[in-house]
């Protein structure tokens, strides 16, 4: 009995540990995402998708590269990225490809390096879990950052 309970506690702790480690990590160093994902089960995907720092970086690039110009709050149809419906598939590699290859002349595959594209993909796929007020709050903190063409200078 006592052993059983100890074992259960250990298991719970171990599960917590596994869940926690990686999620909050903040690696600043040589990056994994130097080439596009190879299929929907590329082993590098969890490193980006399950990490709050990588997702948050994607959120910042979302502003920097001017994605908000079209994918604004309240956009409809395919431009609404937060509705959880994916025109071109919701797999990591599919969303990645949609960003990189489906924007015509914007040609993000050539204009955005691979690592930010990984982060953008992770962010976009995370969006359905964000509430609108959360998205708005983050945008408010970001007005001081270079915002595509609509940037109005640093906050005073």
């Amino acid at each position: 009995m006592a052993i059983g309970r100890g074992g259960a506690t250990t298991a719970v702790l171990a599960a917590l540990l596994l869940a926690a480690c990686g999620r909050e990590a903040r690696d600043i160093g040589p990056s994994l995402g130097e080439t596009p994902p190879r299929g929907g089960s590329d082993p590098r995907i969890p490193y980006y998708q399950d990490n709050v720092y990588q997702v948050a970086q994607g959120g910042r690039y979302f502003g920097w590269y001017g994605c908000v110009a079209c994918h604004v709050e309240g956009a409809v149809g395919v431009r609404d990225l937060g509705d959880g419906r994916w025109q071109h598939g919701g797999g990591f590699d599919q969303v990645y490809a949609a960003i990189a290859r489906r924007h015509g002349a914007l040609n993000y595959a050539a204009r955005i390096p691979a690592e930010p594209l990984w982060q953008l993909t992770a962010y976009v796929r995370d969006l359905p879990q964000h509430t609108p007020e959360k998205r708005r709050r983050l945008a408010i903190d970001q007005v001081g950052e270079p915002h595509g063409r609509s940037w109005s200078g640093p906050v005073r």
């Binding site: 903040r26 600043i28 720092y53 997702v55 709050r137 408010i140």
Partner: protein, 629 residues
Amino acid sequence: MIPDLDRRDRLSLTWRDPPGWWGFLTTVDHKRIAARYIVTALLLLFLAGLLALDMRWQLSWAENDRMGPQLYNESFSLHGSTMLFLVSVPAMEAMALWLVPLMLGQRNMAFPRLGAFSYWLYLGGVLTLWVAHALDVTPDLGWFEYPPLSGPNYAPGHRADIWAQMITFTEVAALCASVNVAATILKMRPPGMTLARMPVFLWAMLVASLMTILSMPAIMLVTSMLIADRLVSTHFFAPAANGDVLLFQHLFWFFGHPEVYIIFIPATGFVSSIVETFARRRLFGHHVLVLAILAIGCLAFGLWVHHMFAVGLPRLGNDFYTAASMAIAVPAGLQIFCWIATMATGRTWLATPMLWVLGFVATFVLGGLSGVMTASAALDLQLTDSYFVVAHFHYVLVGGAMFPLFGAFCYWYPKATGRMMSERWGRVAFALIVGGFNLGFAPMHLLGLMGMPRRVYTYPAGMGWEGLNQIATLGSAIAVAGGLVFVANALLSYWRGAPAGADPWGASTLEWAGESPSPPWNLAYTPVVDSLTPLWDSPVLRVMDGVAIERREVIVTSVVDAAPLYRQKSAAPSIWPVVAALAVTAMFLGSIFTPWAIAAGALPIAAALTGWFWPQRGRATTGPLRVRS
């Protein structure tokens, strides 16, 4: 007066704890609670010290990549937050919890269960920070986490929440302890101990408690606002939505500056007690010392802006706070002169506690001098965020608070354990810690002047910083080794030390009147005091009777004259403080993840508090309101 055996037995029966684990969880004995506080804080001092040594090792070579920037950020954040919130402040509160009733000749604190609750909540804060660290969710933004860096956009995840919630824990715990200490000192002094006859130690603890009560709400407010910004998207610190990031800094430092005095003022209490005992004379300038403590307590609330000189406030503001910061050197200096005068005119005896006082005076004066330098707004613009500041605050925190704490530990150790610590090993530890500390931290002043910033994980070769950094690491290692000697001495003396007797140092205040270690009921009779140094002035301590011994009872006296007013029931051991602390812990932790935890968590807390304060009707023997304890 020596109590007869029968009286002792009856007191023991009344004041004992239930045996075993139940007693461990339910005790309201201020000495047991304080001992837990102290052991926990010392353990954390050790852990955070190892962390510091790790950082020092990292900085010993240029371009060292043993630690990355992220790990270094986590290390100094954990080190600084632990040292300030979980070591220094709680250790000082613990000394008050332990000593105040003894020095007042009382049986317990004014609110015994609040003391227990305070410890359990503090433990909750300790576990929050360090279990999170074990799960790799370590705060990484320093010991003050400014927004917008700590806001929702730049600090995703829960690292900043853990930091903010750890503060909420420790601040609620500190408030409980302070209210308790202030009420005990003001209303439970023994007959005859008028305010004018109150030892400096008690003044120090009273002022520090009042300061805690006045300053802590600011930081609880500000960390709660931060959590609200992060959790429910409020705009307190979002300038683009008419919030204000400087508001955070003002509120933080409105607490943060008084905090260093909340740490330092109790230390002046320790020093005053030790100096008086080992100089074998009454303190020179007792009134000056008391007034200086009161002055520091007031001035400390008017200085906080000196932590914000570099943010670009109006010139006049900077000038005002420069002047105010320099003014506080006056009362601090007066205190130092009073202690020196006492030592110089007494028959001073250099036992280890006294050595620590000497180490304190030398080190703290150096830290005060670099403090006056950084207090000048013009100079601070150069020095801020450099290693000079690291040197300065370690000189005042370690020299001004840790050294007196170690001295106090050696001084009151015989009272707590009934054994003497080894003088020889005490001296070795003293020499290693004070020598190592000064060797290690003095070069940091130079490093700062040479331009080395604080909070960098490494630096380029060719800056000329390596040599001094290596000396700093060497000194730190020596100091940590001295700390191990200190701890080993304390542990070994617990079993092997010579028996101490009631008053091994020939001291003057009431805590030395009873046996060592103090029994759960402290003194057998209520002492009556007619001077500042009762044990020196009356050959036999005068006492009075009349407080019950077959039930838990304490005596309450008037605030100024300490005239006996009435007898008051003192709370018995109870499980409710632990239960309430668990309920509060659940609510605090839950509110990191969802705002609903605050509403849902309030119910168990209300239930626990209802149990805690369940009324009893005086003569009822049956029914829900019957008398239980």
